[in-house]
């Protein structure tokens, strides 16, 4: 199991203090079988020991593919799910298992923007209601005041405040996502978790929403966790980026570091797989293509989760000793690998002969 990482203190940018700290977060879903009495026979280890921290004003990007657990992790942080292990500290308070009124209070500070703008807005409610619901629930003003705030917010996100009384289906996908953002912003949270907020949108609309999110971060002093599978998008908006694979963080570092010099072979493969919109460059390189599918989180591979697909796999090490997420010498990123990548770009991720584990 990965142990808790030590706090980084050598960051150059004077971002705020630590707002969110996640230690060894675990979320396992039981699989039961049985005729009358359900017995647990296996667990889906959706999140299996994840640790990271987010500073005030920072944007932490999380990338990973399906089955890596990033959405589950987001929901645990938001306390939409109950973690089965680990600890979540938000603004100095342990929120791992809080309930009831305590949870309500925290909910004011921590909001979420969802992926599907077509499914995340209640089609039977008017937009004004949707955006203002949080304000109503937490009793933040008279109905008139709330309406005023809502209209302000609609304006802030680039929508017409006059459309207060319209229904979601009268808006386009991009506009609906703006509504989702306005909704998250309404109660002035400290942190917003964005779960793939632009994946369902057209390319030109994606850019608009990303610009909006960046502007709002500056204006409202927000902290973001930005989850996506599109690496270009994540790079663009994040200060730091974490890469997840099968329930664990395999690499975490600044956006610049990760994209210019990934250390983990999976990060390398991921970056390599992103198509480059420059034909000459794209056709002159040899992309790294992984074999096979992502294994099931029910029965993850032993030790290093990536070892069955890793081009640098070394039997005896990678399948017996679990690599710890830690900083290796000469770099500010943390990586969980016995044989991290030496250089980048690499046409061949395989180990040069005679390498020893670092």
């Amino acid at each position: 199991m990965a142990t808790a990482t030590s706090e980084e203190t050598t960051r150059p940018a004077p971002l705020g203090d630590e707002l969110l700290r996640v230690e060894n977060l675990e979320k396992h879903f039981p699989i039961t079988r049985g005729i009358i009495f359900q017995k647990e026979i296996a667990k889906v280890r959706a999140v299996d020991g994840v640790s990271f921290s987010v500073r005030r004003g920072e944007t932490l990007g999380i990338v990973g593919e399906s089955g890596c657990g990033k959405s589950t992790m987001a929901r645990c942080v938001m306390r939409l799910l109950d973690p089965t292990g680990g600890k979540i500290t938000f603004d100095g308070q342990d929120i791992t298992h809080i309930k009831g009124n305590d949870l309500m209070r925290v909910r004011r500070e921590l909001m979420m923007v969802f992926q599907d703008p077509y499914a995340s807005l209640n089609p039977r409610k008017r937009v004004g209601y949707i955006v203002g619901e949080a304000l109503q629930v937490h009793k933040q003003g008279t109905p008139k005041e709330i309406k005023g705030r809502v209209q302000e917010l609609l304006d802030v996100v680039g929508l017409n405040p006059e459309h207060y009384n319209r229904y979601p289906h009268e808006f386009s996908g991009g506009q609906r996502q703006r509504i989702g953002v306005a909704r998250a912003l309404a109660i002035r949270p400290k942190m917003i978790v964005c779960d793939e907020p632009v994946s369902a949108l057209d390319v030109s609309v994606q850019a608009q929403i990303l610009n909006l999110l960046k502007r709002l971060q500056r204006e409202f002093d927000l902290t973001y966790i930005f989850i996506a599978h599109d690496l270009d998008v994540v790079r663009h908006i994040s200060d730091r980026v974490g890469v997840m694979y099968l329930g664990k963080v395999v690499e975490i570092g600044t956006a610049l570091d990760l994209y210019q010099h990934p250390k983990h072979p999976y990060s390398g493969a991921l970056l390599s797989a992103v198509p480059i919109p420059n034909p000459r460059a794209a056709r002159s390189r040899e992309p790294v293509v992984l074999e096979g599918d992502v294994p099931s989180p029910i029965n993850p591979p032993s030790a290093c989760r990536f070892h069955p697909r890793c081009p640098r796999f070394q039997p005896g090490t990678c399948d017996t000793i679990e690599p710890v997420l830690e900083r290796k010498e000469g770099s500010a990123s943390e990586v969980a690998c016995h044989f991290p990548l030496e250089t980048w770009p690499m046409s061949d991720l395989r180990l040069p002969s005679g390498s020893t584990p670092r």
Binding site: E65, S66, S172, G174, D202, V203, S204, V205, Q206, A207, Q208, L210, N211, K214, H229, D230, L231, D232, V233, R235, H236, A255, L256, A269, L270, S272, A273, V274, P275, I276, P277, N278, P279, R280, A281, A282, R283, P287, V289, L290, G292, D293, V294
Partner: protein, 340 residues
């Protein structure tokens, strides 16, 4: 001679709200063994174009005009029964969502056999053998056991491979792939694109790849057609489109990619949204979002004219050649610089 030659294709749907001009005057051609990428946003008409060629549009009242000459035969004017015989045999199509594109209550073996037996009089055993061959070609592990499995027992990437196997099982001349990797993870996308590339080499089929991802276009296309609001905006070889683009929409698309902007700078999206196809703008349809729009753009539809000095590079824009070349050069240097 081109394998497929489409001239002035128009597809209009009669709906309760009026006539939706989903495709309004598209022309392009596809060469044997080559890949044409059709790029556009949702509503650009890229999917409907191919569905029309295949005769797969659903809906009651549709007006189709124009020509789609495939190996000498105009697919738009032959009777439905004849067109049906082309489908799955000489022209195949695969779709975006592999989760829902396979029948959940039939084994994949049965669905593959169906594809074979629809076009050839073979026994079940022969069809099975062919299905097995194809599963091996698309690199599904342990294919013998998987023939009797159902779609829900495969992962997304595997399902798309099955779709590809089903599409290529009769060795078609043309494969139309409608956003085949959009619903897949990026590493799975890389696998599927690599597979399609190899299969194209081995089977010699031409491919029409419909996508909105310029990265995918850059990696796979020989020729590119950029569509906007049911009409062609620009068309040419991949070098033309990426290094010598001649249309403001193409410039906008290239510039709005996060890849090209440095971290920290705001992205440069194309302002506004694609127009309604019930009531498209007059003149050049892009003029409402175009930073270079002139008066003439609002009234006169630009000709899909040949770019001077090129063989097949065309763009539909009123701007003068000088401005276009200047912009093209600016973008090309940004593109080249970024991926150094």
């Amino acid at each position: 001679m081109a394998l497929l030659d489409v001239k002035d294709l128009r597809t209009h749907f009669h709906t309760e709200d009026g006539i939706v001009r989903a495709v309004d005057g598209v022309s392009f051609s596809v060469e044997k063994g080559k890949t044409l990428a059709i790029v556009g946003e949702s509503g650009s008409g890229k999917s409907v174009t191919c569905l029309t060629i295949m005769g797969l549009n659903s809906g009651r009242r549709i007006d189709i005009s124009g020509e789609a000459v495939f190996d000498g035969e105009d697919l738009l004017s032959i009777p439905k029964d004849e067109l049906r015989r082309y489908r799955g045999k000489r022209i195949s199509m695969i779709f975006q969502d592999p989760m829902t594109s396979l029948n959940p209550v039939h084994t994949i073996g049965r669905q593959l056999r169906e594809a074979v037996q629809l076009h050839a009089d073979v026994t079940k055993a022969q069809a099975n053998a062919r299905a097995l061959e194809m599963l091996k070609a698309v690199r599904i592990p342990r294919p013998e056991t998987r023939l009797d499995d159902y779609p829900h027992q495969f992962s997304g990437g595997m399902r798309q491979r099955v779709m590809i196997a089903m599409a290529l099982i009769n060795n078609p001349d043309l494969l139309i792939a409608d956003e085949p990797t959009t619903a897949l993870d990026v590493t799975t996308q890389a696998q599927i694109l690599k597979l399609m590339n190899e299969l194209q080499r081995d089977f010699g089929s031409a491919i029409i790849l419909i996508t909105h991802d310029l990265g995918v276009v850059a990696e796979t296309a020989d020729d590119v057609l950029v569509m906007y609001a049911a009409q062609p905006a620009e068309r040419g070889g991949y070098e033309d489109i990426f290094y010598r683009p001649h249309h403001p929409y193409t410039w906008g698309l290239l510039r709005s990619l996060p890849h090209l902007t440095s971290v920290g700078e705001d992205l440069k999206p194309i302002p506004g949204a694609p127009p309604s196809l019930l009531n498209p703008p007059t003149g050049c349809r892009f003029h409402t979002r175009c930073p270079y729009a002139m008066d003439v753009c609002t009234t006169v539809v630009p000709e899909f004219a040949l770019v001077p000095g090129s063989g097949e590079h065309r763009a539909a824009c009123h701007l003068d050649e000088e401005t276009k070349q200047r912009e093209a050069a600016a973008i090309a240097s940004e593109t080249l610089a970024d991926s150094a």
